[in-house]
């Protein structure tokens, strides 16, 4: 009897989308409902968050986080039993991503966004996909390595990031008298160091490593040994107070990270040549990252990892 009912329901569901709209849409809320009604999901991507989300040689978004989002989009499509789901793309910057999630312009933010308690008041985060600490990069010839070496220097960071906040706080707390310039995106900030406009660029170390690897003369740069923060979790961002959508996204990311596919995805972007110029970041899976992937968590607390 129960089997029969279940079969009937499945049949109904399969027949539903074209035949009886409303019946399904009624039970859905928030983002899921919107996606169902429009048959489209919008991803926010970044210009230059290598290798998480950035533009390749043809100016199309690619990257580790971007591919995770595509997988999530597939899961959403399956969950909603849609025949086809259009994936729309919207460029975001560090400064625009949170308001754009809140105001509904994008549904998932696929980039290098740190999940922290502060931001959780504005947005929700799914399971962590990377851990990174804040450090700075400078030209080797400047001999900058510790936080205190930045005393009185001109320092650049990307606006809207945890990095610029942390360096501001350190600057105030230790009275280092740095000039802190905000840049629109990571590529622009790194250029300021490359062209000598700034002495150092404070940012998540993995992004710095990728920028150095892609620079014209990678050997000319050094990343600080002292970190300005503990390793913090990166996660895909979504709208706050939308539990049904978050449940779908959480399930999809957890399934992906714990599967061999998740590991392969990591290896593809961190241990192999990546577009557009075939650089290899050579960041094999660390013990901490192994834990991140094998036991998915959406905690914002760095101590949880």
């Amino acid at each position: 009897m129960r089997l029969k009912a279940a079969l009937l329901l499945t049949l109904l569901a399969a027949a539903c989308p074209p035949a009886c709209p409303g019946a399904w849409a009624q039970e859905l809320t928030g983002t899921l409902r919107k996606v169902k009604e429009r048959g489209a999901l919008t991803l926010g991507y970044r210009d230059a968050s290598v290798p998480f989300s950035y533009l390749d040689g043809n100016q199309k978004p690619v990257g580790y986080a971007y591919e995770i989002c595509l997988k999530v989009a597939e899961a959403v499509k399956t969950h909603l039993k849609l025949d086809r789901l259009e994936v729309k793309l919207n460029p975001v910057t560090s400064a625009t991503r949170i308001p754009l999630i809140a105001n509904g312009t994008i549904d998932l933010e696929c980039g290098s966004t740190t999940n922290n308690a502060d931001r959780q008041r504005q947005a929700a985060f799914t399971n962590t996909h990377f851990l990174t600490a804040t450090r700075f990069v400078a030209k080797k010839e400047k001999g900058l390595d510790k936080t205190d070496d930045l005393k009185g220097r001109t320092v650049v960071s990307t606006s809207g990031t945890t990095g610029i906040r942390q360096i501001n706080e350190i600057n105030a707390a230790r009275g280092l008298g740095m000039r802190i310039l905000p840049a629109k995106d990571h590529a622009e900030a790194f250029l300021m160091v490359e062209t000598g406009r700034a002495d150092a660029f404070v940012m998540d170390d993995v992004l710095l490593a990728a920028l150095v690897a892609g620079a014209k003369t990678p050997e000319a740069y050094a990343i600080s040994s002292e970190a300005q923060s503990r390793p913090e979790p990166y996660a895909i961002m979504l709208r706050k107070d939308d539990a049904p959508f978050k449940a779908v996204v959480d399930a999809a990311t957890a399934a992906l990270y714990t599967s061999p596919e998740g590991r392969a995805l990591y290896d593809r972007w961190f241990t192999q040549a990546i577009p557009p110029r075939g650089i290899n970041l050579q960041l094999p899976l660390s013990e901490a990252m192994r834990k991140v992937l094998s036991s998915p968590s959406d905690s914002a607390d760095p101590a949880a990892y």
Partner: protein, 230 residues
């Protein structure tokens, strides 16, 4: 120094620069100019309507827009438009607005304030006797405006309207702050990816100059022609 410029980066990125960037810039300019003109004419009519509430509302809008820097207005609308959309349509959640649509709304509403001032001057330049004559012929207010005043105001102001459109064309480059891919956005993305700032920004400046200079020469020719007819 100039000899060491690497022009191949410009050459290889031409399809992207023009196919994507310039198309975005031109489409945005054309649509925002048309929308801004319609809205601006409306605002000018409201401001000259003599109805106290309407006159003041239109004046307030125009003055406010003209007091604010475009960059700030761009940020405002990029974050605000979805909420406005929700409010306008009565939706429970902010509605989704793509980057192009958002930029279009921003520039249309911003330019409307500037077009409104031009059209106001244009309407005021038509001698009062003309509308009085039209009314005496039994035309309604709408007919007077549509058939007598606006066509002349529009023609007299055409050079100014076109000059403002050239300014708009230049101003669209400010969508750079939102990471959108207009012509300058495309150039800067290539510049930053390949570390070729000097080449790409010089090239962008050259293209903008060529387009705007040619357009302003055309406007000047048009101006002398109109002057003769008058």
């Amino acid at each position: 120094m100039l000899a060491s410029l690497d022009l191949s980066v410009v050459a290889t990125s031409l399809p992207y620069l023009f196919g994507e960037g310039m198309v975005f810039t031109l489409t945005l300019t054309a649509l925002a100019a048309s929308g801004g003109l319609v809205l601006g004419t409306g605002l000018a009519l409201l401001r000259l309507s003599g109805v106290p509430g309407l006159t003041h509302a239109a004046k307030l809008y125009v003055e406010l827009m003209r007091a604010l820097p475009l960059v700030l207005v761009i940020f405002w609308f990029y974050f605000l438009v979805p909420y406005l959309g929700a409010w306008a349509t009565g939706a429970a959640h902010p509605i989704q607005v793509g980057p192009f649509a958002s930029a279009l709304v921003t520039f249309t509403l911003f330019e409307a304030a500037y077009f409104a001032e031009i059209m106001r001057a244009g309407i005021q330049s038509i001698p009062k006797g003309q509308s009085a004559a039209a009314r005496a012929l039994g035309m309604s207010y709408a007919q007077t405006m549509r058939l007598v005043v606006l066509p002349q105001a529009f023609r007299n102001m055409l050079p100014l309207l076109l000059t403002q459109t050239i300014v708009l064309f230049q101003d669209t480059s400010l969508v750079y702050v939102l990471s959108l891919t207009d012509f300058l956005g495309a150039a800067s993305k290539v510049a930053q990816r390949d570390g070729r700032l000097v080449e790409m920004y010089l090239f962008a400046a050259l293209v903008y100059f060529a387009v705007c200079f040619a357009a302003s020469l055309l406007v000047r020719r048009l101006q002398t022609r109109i002057a003769i007819v008058r």
